[in-house]
């Protein structure tokens, strides 16, 4: 009986925290978390990630000509609809002569965070070549 009362009391106390209410401080913190990952991505993008001293920014200053807003899209050279992360790996393997990253790795997410940040404000255009 006591256990049941405690359970109900806990439930009532916990209820206000279950709604999606957040403060300005939360927003700031979440943005800061994003920017931390974005800045890590910026560093990676400007590093020699492969084996031949080439870095992503050499062909893509400010991540220009990466068009993250167009993915997923049909990549004629791969013969299928591909994601941005697959294209990042293609670049790591070919122009950078390096190893691909696991698609859910921290580094891959950081690269994606930087690339999309540099393209912020551009309307989504999935499939556009």
């Amino acid at each position: 009986m006591f256990t049941r009362a405690l359970f109900i009391a806990c439930l009532l106390l916990a209820l206000p925290a279950q709604g999606d209410e957040f403060t300005k401080e939360d927003l700031k913190r979440w943005e800061a978390e994003y920017m931390k990952v974005m800045e890590k991505g910026e560093k990676l993008f400007h590093s020699t990630l492969g084996s031949n001293k080439v870095s992503c920014d050499q062909c893509h200053p400010n991540a220009a000509n990466t068009h993250p807003e167009t993915y997923p899209k049909f990549q004629k050279q791969l013969g299928k609809v591909a994601t941005l992360r697959e294209m990042i790996n293609w670049c790591l393997k070919n122009p950078l002569e390096g190893n691909p990253l696991p698609l859910d790795s921290d580094e891959m997410i950081a690269l994606e965070a930087y690339i999309t940040w540099e393209r912020r404000g551009t309307p989504l255009a999935p499939g556009k070549h």
């Binding site: 001293k53 080439v54 200053p61 122009p95 540099e118």
Partner: protein, 357 residues
């Protein structure tokens, strides 16, 4: 077979062959007549960014670009009178990289004239270049045309002094999109020299100025920019017609400002995006330029190449040699008083790959 297709078809089997380049006659039209000069052709190779990895290893992609340009220039028939190397032979100004570039370029048959780029300069502030390769700025005359070479990649002393090592300085200049970068300039000493150099020439002498950075302002965040460009332009104003050829931007780009025609030369290493592709900052990309095709990353040499330049009647016809695309020819139009692409200048004739976003 079209000339350009013939060129593309030349592989190793064609090494012993020569290429039938025909010169295109330009009829002199409106305006006062320039001084007489003999027509001639020269070639322009630029921005090879040879990158030293370790020991005898260099980045193959960039080596191959330069090798291909040298091979093709050597197949020109008639051969060009000379070849301009437009700067950024090295990626990080290392002696290994410059020496490697000299070794590759030693296979080039015509004589070379040199323009320095920032990647050649900021490790040792141009010492090795001046010692082994060329003065940083100079002029010469060829068949009645006056050529001026400028070192346009100088920058402010405060920026030069702020780095703890030469390599730190080099790396910061080498990063194109560096928020800690510093704008290029020609500088007062060179402007004084240029004024004196030009004072010896009549206004109708055909004049070609060679620089690494564009001598006008396109996009400061990537240093498609020379801070004192107006100072140079002012000294060129009294001449009948002037052509400026520059590297640095790794793309098809041309413009007309008053009496000055500007052409960017192709890179052998990789193409840069047009600044219009970076949406966060405004740009001043010339409206006149019909963009090159968006490069296909799956073709290593796409978006790269070199240039053949015919100089007749005081103006240039620029044949962009594009390795994975149709070649482009841009020539000065005497009625419109600006350069015009032979096939694509009319907006209705442009093709989808020429639209960048």
């Amino acid at each position: 077979m079209k000339r350009r297709n013939f060129l593309k078809g030349v592989g190793l089997a064609g090494l012993g062959a020569t290429l039938p380049f025909s010169l295109v006659e330009v009829v002199w039209g409106l305006g006062s007549k320039p001084a007489e000069h003999e027509s001639f052709t020269f070639a322009y190779i630029s921005d090879s960014h040879l990158t030293h990895i370790q020991g005898a290893r260099f980045t193959q992609n960039f080596d191959q670009g330069l090798r291909k340009a040298i091979l093709e220039v050597n197949l020109m028939n008639p051969p060009p009178d000379f070849v301009i190397y437009g700067g950024d032979l090295a990626q990080l100004g290392k002696r290994e990289e410059l020496d490697h570039g000299l070794e590759l370029l030693s296979g080039l048959k015509p004589p070379l004239k040199w323009v320095i780029g920032e990647h050649d300069f900021y490790l040792d502030m141009g010492e090795y270049w001046q010692d082994k390769i060329s003065p940083l700025y100079y002029s010469f005359d060829h068949k009645g045309v006056h050529f001026v070479v400028l070192n346009s990649i100088l920058t402010y002393q405060d920026w030069i002094k702020k780095w703890s090592t030469p390599m730190e300085r080099m790396l910061n200049m080498a990063r194109l999109d560096n928020p800690q970068g510093s704008p290029f300039m020609v500088g007062e000493a060179q402007l004084r020299w240029l004024k004196e150099d030009l004072a010896k020439y009549e206004r109708n002498v055909p004049l070609v100025v060679l620089s690494h950075s564009p001598l006008y302002k396109i996009f400061k965040p990537w240093n498609f920019w020379t801070d004192d460009a107006e100072g140079v332009q002012k000294l060129l104003q009294r001449f009948h017609r002037v052509t400026v050829l520059h590297g640095h931007v790794h793309q098809v780009l041309y413009n007309q400002i008053g009496n000055i025609t500007f052409y960017a030369m192709m890179a052998t290493a990789w193409p840069w995006p047009y600044p219009v592709s970076y949406v966060q900052k405004p740009n001043q990309v010339p409206k006149l330029t019909v963009f090159m095709n968006r490069a296909d990353p799956f073709h290593q040499r796409d978006g790269t190449g070199w240039d053949i330049l015919d100089l007749e009647n005081g103006t240039l016809t620029n044949h962009y040699q594009l390795w994975m695309n149709e070649n482009r020819t841009v020539a000065f139009d005497f009625k419109l008083e600006h350069p015009v692409d032979r096939n694509y200048q009319d907006p209705e004739k442009r093709i989808p790959p020429q639209f960048h976003y």
